[in-house]
Amino acid sequence: MKSYLAAFRGRSRSVLRYRAAALAGIFTQFFFGLILCMIMEAWYRSAAPGLQAPLSLRQAASYIWLGQIIFALIPWRGDPELQDLVRSGDVARDLIRPLDVFGLWLARSLAWRLASLLLRFLPILVFSLFILPAIGLGDIALQPPAGLGGLLGFLLLLAGAAPLSAAITVFISCFQFRQISAVGANAIAAALVSFFSGQLVPLPLLGGPVELLYRLLPFRYLADVPYRFWLGSLTLADLPASLAIQAAWLLAVLTASRLIIQRQLRQLAIAGG
């Protein structure tokens, strides 16, 4: 455990050194949050009168802001460090460590996600929860959580989302072994994960076959499900089931990526030096 913790510490300290990158990320999230809220507002204002939307405008705006706050936790691409490692052959240095390679990568991806989250979440939280209402934009601000139960559910699901996100990150990164270039895997992941986690359009607004699809995929347990606890559409009674399904997905993704990595390492070739 101490060994994997060392890998975690090394990566998180490296990430924390890039503060300018984090600042740039924060501004992107402000921008996207505001744009998405404005789109929501336009939708709601142009909807037929009397139409009962699954979320109120205020709830939809909150959902969007939650998405911007935890944006760094969403595994919408593989870990660039891992992908670069495989591309350049530096993966050799991971193989000379007395650690399980999969565990090492998981620890590193988790460190990357969590350190990025730590650097970014607070300014957006403060902006959306306090500053927006203060300047008269309460309609598109983040509403406080639905009671202590809502907050608890949100935080617990988020705690499970972190390892799930790291596992999916490693899973996406695995495709590097087969393709050398990660552009394809990253592009597909970006589309799939952003949409089906609820980061683009709040999932409660979508019905029909799309709903069936997002319920069959693991990605909503990264974002949509925790947000629903915050909003109060899921309550403490739903908590055990949600946590259990999230844990099952975590186990499934961990097992799959572990198997893939072990298979790929056996066929590994490292050229030049």
């Binding site: 101490k2 060994s3 913790l5 060392a6 890998a7 510490r9 090394g10 300290r13 490296s14 050194r17 890039y18 350049s88 052959g89 530096d90 050799a92 240095r93 193989l95 000379i96 460590r97 007395p98 650690l99 399980d100 056996r266 066929q267 590994l268 070739a269 490292i270 050229a271 030049g272 030096g273």
Partner: protein
């Protein structure tokens, strides 16, 4: 310590057929039945031209690559490297001259601490080892600098520490001197000798710098096209290659080349180079003793300075590669 028998490795590479989108699958043999043993405390120089299979051997011995199945055997510290990789790598250190194993964005000192934890070295022991290595490699000026801002020479010294924090009995150095300046190379050599004497560390060294080999390796393995071509001491390798010796003379007065050629030719000496005030002569060491050669060499000359030596190692190796058509 290392026992290798009939080790083979084949890579699959793809060749694009020109003007077509199809590609051709090719099997490239990197290692073709290599066998050797290494005893504890040895320093072994592993040489061969680019693409000969040096790095492949190191990577198999360090557990990174799997060799071809059903071919040969390989035991390092009593273990099959790729079968029980985690236990195996805890007992080896590896330095890749062309790669870094330090955290690029962190100061080297922090990397050492993290590596100590990774190898489960007790903190007190890790600190003590680090203090000794730090002194020996003179890291004080840059141990708190992020690795990305270090010069190559500084980084390579840190790489050595990183590979030794768990005090492995076996150290692989894969082209550690690549790109280093002369003082750094000499510091590196001194350190390797110190490590081998002080700790009895077994060292396998690949390099293209023949001065490294001459300064360090009591034993040389020469590999070419995946086959082991020579296994013996540097002196034996010299004898194997040629017995050519050199007399280098600084002239006090200019000399006439044609006249010299006429004088030396029948007496078993050959002019290798005559430039300004420097004359280099070659002779067959098995036919002529050193004193005889000097006597013949100086007779037609006014000599300012003179030295006697073997064929430069670089030339010797080049001749050897040429002979084996590598």
């Amino acid at each position: 310590m290392i026992h290798v028998e009939q080790l083979s490795k084949t890579y699959t590479v793809y060749k694009r057929i020109p003007g077509s989108l199809r590609r051709q699958r090719l099997a490239v043999t990197a290692l073709d039945g290599i066998s050797f043993n290494v005893s504890p405390g040895e320093i072994v120089g592993y040489i061969g031209p680019n693409g000969a299979g040096k790095s492949t051997t190191i990577k198999i011995l360090s557990g990174i690559l799997h060799p071809d199945r059903d071919h040969g055997s390989c035991l390092v510290n009593g273990r099959v490297p790729w079968k029980n990789r985690q236990a195996h790598v805890a007992g080896i250190g590896v330095v890749f001259g062309q790669r870094t194993q330090l955290w690029w964005d962190l100061p080297a000192g922090e990397s050492f601490g993290l590596l100590g934890d990774m190898y489960r070295v007790p903190p007190a022991l890790s600190r003590e080892r680090l203090a000794r290595l730090r002194r020996e490699l003179d890291l004080d000026g840059f141990i708190d600098t992020p690795v990305r801002q270090m010069s190559l020479g500084q980084r390579m010294r840190c790489e050595l520490v990183a590979a030794l924090i768990h005090n492995p009995p076996l150290l692989f150095l894969d082209e550690p001197s690549i790109g280093l300046d002369a003082p750094s190379k000499i510091a590196l050599r001194d350190f390797i000798v110190w490590l081998n004497r002080q700790h009895g560390t077994t060292i396998i060294l690949t390099t293209h710098d023949m001065d490294d080999i001459e300064a360090l390796a009591r034993r040389v393995l020469l590999i070419g096209k995946g086959r082991l071509l020579f296994d013996g001491s540097m002196a034996e390798l010299r004898r194997e290659a040629s017995d050519e010796k050199r007399v280098t003379i600084d002239l006090a007065e200019p000399a006439d080349e044609a006249a010299l050629r006429a004088w030396y030719g029948p007496r078993g000496l050959r002019i290798v180079a005559l430039r300004e005030h420097r004359l280099v002569l070659a002779y067959d060491g098995s036919a002529l003793a050193g004193t005889e050669a000097i006597a013949v060499a100086v007779q037609p000359l006014k000599v300012a300075d003179l030295s006697l030596g073997g064929q430069p190692v670089e030339e010797l190796i080049a001749a050897l590669y040429a002979r084996h058509k590598l």
